[in-house]
């Protein structure tokens, strides 16, 4: 065996915490440290149509010379419709996950066609090996945000909606490739103490740690809870920013490393 650890892995149990702790070294390589993952909200951005989408895409294109972008899409209102009907019909979480994937794929295709004249491709999970080439050549790709768990989507603790959706899928891309940023483009300035669309008195939180956020026990949060869970274990992607994509310039500033929304750090 190459290493003593290798011998221990072959002979030992992968449930042994002491053995697992030894797998933390050496440090994880950042595969694409210059790339940025940008997730475009489904309900928050794409469902608004051209008034929200066109200015955002113009800003994305303007940033191509300076930034490499892996662009994921949310699902939005059609996923909510599919989940509602699916739950009524008794669909298990894994089937709902398949339905959510279809909707986020529709959104990815639409964004892709609008960016196509810039040579930017849409890639499905099976095409991710081509991602580095596309980033080098065209500086951006579009993918659907849902993680490809399909029938293997774990159940949520409460209810039936798949717990790992497009925020999580995009986040895991940033974690596995060790990207320089993970930016969520939504239609609110960031995290509030409650959903500001329902409670106008909700207070804005410009920056917070995952631990502090969990201690607040908010009933509603701006990003999927499983992203927060995973940030606690992350090796590379320790900070995310949620920005308001309806405000021109926010995406550019976030790509430049400025604080324009809510920064959540692990």
């Amino acid at each position: 065996m190459l290493t003593e650890l290798g011998a221990a892995l072959v002979a030992g149990s992968l449930t042994d915490e002491e053995l697992l702790a030894r797998t933390d070294v050496p440090a994880t390589v950042r595969i694409l440290p210059e790339a940025n993952v940008i997730k475009i909200g489904g309900q928050s951005l794409i469902d608004r149509g051209r008034s929200a989408v066109f200015p955002l895409l113009d800003e994305l294109v303007a940033n191509l010379p300076d930034h490499k972008m892996i662009i994921g899409t949310g699902a939005g209102t059609r996923a909510r419709h599919a989940y509602s009907v699916g739950i009524d019909l008794g669909m298990p979480t894994g089937v709902l996950s398949v339905l959510g994937t279809f909707v986020s794929m529709q959104n990815a295709r639409m964004i892709h066609y609008l960016l196509a004249r810039h040579g930017i491709p849409f890639i499905e999970p099976a095409q991710f090996p081509q991602l580095p080439l596309y980033l080098s050549e065209r500086r951006a790709v579009v993918f659907f945000g849902m993680p490809p768990y399909t029938f293997w989507q774990p159940n949520p603790k409460i209810g039936r909606i798949p717990p790992h959706r497009t925020d999580t899928g995009a986040y895991l891309v940033s974690e596995v490739f060790g990207t320089r940023s993970m930016i969520y483009v939504k239609d609110e300035d960031g995290l509030y103490t409650a959903d500001p669309k329902k409670e106008p008195g909700a207070t804005f939180i410009p920056s917070i740690t995952v631990e502090e956020l969990e201690a607040l026990c908010l009933d509603d949060v701006v990003v999927e809870r499983s992203v927060l869970d995973m940030m606690k274990n992350a090796k590379s992607s320790r900070s995310i920013q949620i920005i308001n994509g309806l405000v021109p310039g926010n995406l550019t500033r976030a790509l430049n490393g400025e604080h324009v929304g809510t920064i959540i750090s692990g």
Binding site: M1, L2, T3, L5, G6, L9, V10, S13, L14, T15, L20, A21, T23, D24, P26, T28, I31, Q43, S44, D47, A52, T77, R80, H81, S84, I87, D88, M91, P92, T93, G94, V95, P125, P147, P148, T150, F151, Q153, P154, N155, I158, G159, R160, I161, L172, V173, V176, G178, D187, D195, D219, D220, V221, V222, V223, E224, M230, K232, N233, A234
Partner: protein, 278 residues
């Protein structure tokens, strides 16, 4: 279906979940509802990689014979583990500094190789390994046409594997993938075929007086905080959130005669239950 155009600028489609963030706890609780079982008469059997297949003919042939007999009475969905080769590729990948998602992607190849070996042995019974790309969607069709099917037990998480709490080994491996599949399709039983009789209260290799635990719940097992388990630890979390498959059994595949009673629901190893009512 009416589209909703009240002026928040978003074009909604009328549904129960319209406008929701899908993150609100009260909304989530409202989505709890019974689930249809797609394959309630099928059984998921995970055949261990290191524990069974890596042992070669000695450990595998008798089990294959037991599986072939069981196929006459039961529809079987067989998952395989990756075994020693997966441990080896993990060790090289870790040394090279690769992240958990890459390790998870690499692991699938070993389990798939084992699925093809098991498929070669079971081919006379019409049971073969199905490519992962089509397995999930076509499973009900395949299982109607054949007495059993084989897949690589790993879930298709790959690059999207969750970073684990400790270290970098992918937490969702072939036990977890086999269980998640059974849960989604509402299968009758989940049996993990290993080379130990079940879960012991202490490591039987070090403590000859260790006692086999016949039945235990997720909460009791968590309380015991055993240093090792004969299955992916994440399985406890997954079973805890299960809606359809509320137990699984660990059996010793070196005693292949235990397979059929396990499929009938008899306790022949260790049964892990979601909670005491299951």
């Amino acid at each position: 279906m009416v589209s909703d155009d009240r002026p928040d600028g978003r074009h909604h489609l009328d549904s129960l979940l319209m406008r929701e963030t899908l993150l609100d706890r009260a909304v989530m609780a409202a989505t709890e509802a019974p689930t249809v079982a797609m394959l309630p008469h099928c059984h998921v059997v995970k055949v261990g990689g290191r524990s069974i297949l890596d042992g070669g003919r000695r450990s595998t042939y008798p089990l294959v014979e037991a599986i072939s007999r069981a196929l006459a009475r039961h529809k079987l969905i067989l998952g395989t583990g990756g075994g020693a080769r997966t441990r080896h590729v993990f060790s090289i990948g870790l040394d090279l500094g690769l992240p958990s998602g890459v390790l998870a992607q690499l692991a699938i190849a070993d389990a798939l190789g084992n699925a093809h070996m098991l498929g070669t042995l079971l081919a006379p019974y019409g049971v073969v390994a199905i490519p992962p790309e089509i397995f999930g969607h076509l499973l009900p069709l395949f299982i109607q046409a054949a007495p059993g099917v084989i897949f690589n037990g790993d879930p298709p998480f790959g690059l999207w594997e969750h970073p684990p709490g400790t270290g970098k080994i992918p937490p969702h491996r072939s036990d977890a993938g086999s269980f998640l599949l059974a849960e989604c399709f509402g299968c009758a039983t989940v049996t993990l075929v290993k080379d130990v009789d079940g879960i012991y209260d202490r490591d039987p290799k070090e403590h000859p007086s260790a006692k086999l635990i016949e039945e235990i719940t997720v909460a009791e097992l968590a309380d015991r905080n055993l240093p090792t388990l004969p299955f992916d630890r994440i399985l406890l979390e997954l079973l805890g959130s299960a809606r359809q498959v509320t137990r699984f059994q660990v059996i010793n595949g070196l005693k292949p005669e235990l397979l059929e009673p396990a499929l009938r629901g008899e306790r022949v190893g260790t049964i892990v239950r979601r909670d005491a009512s299951d």
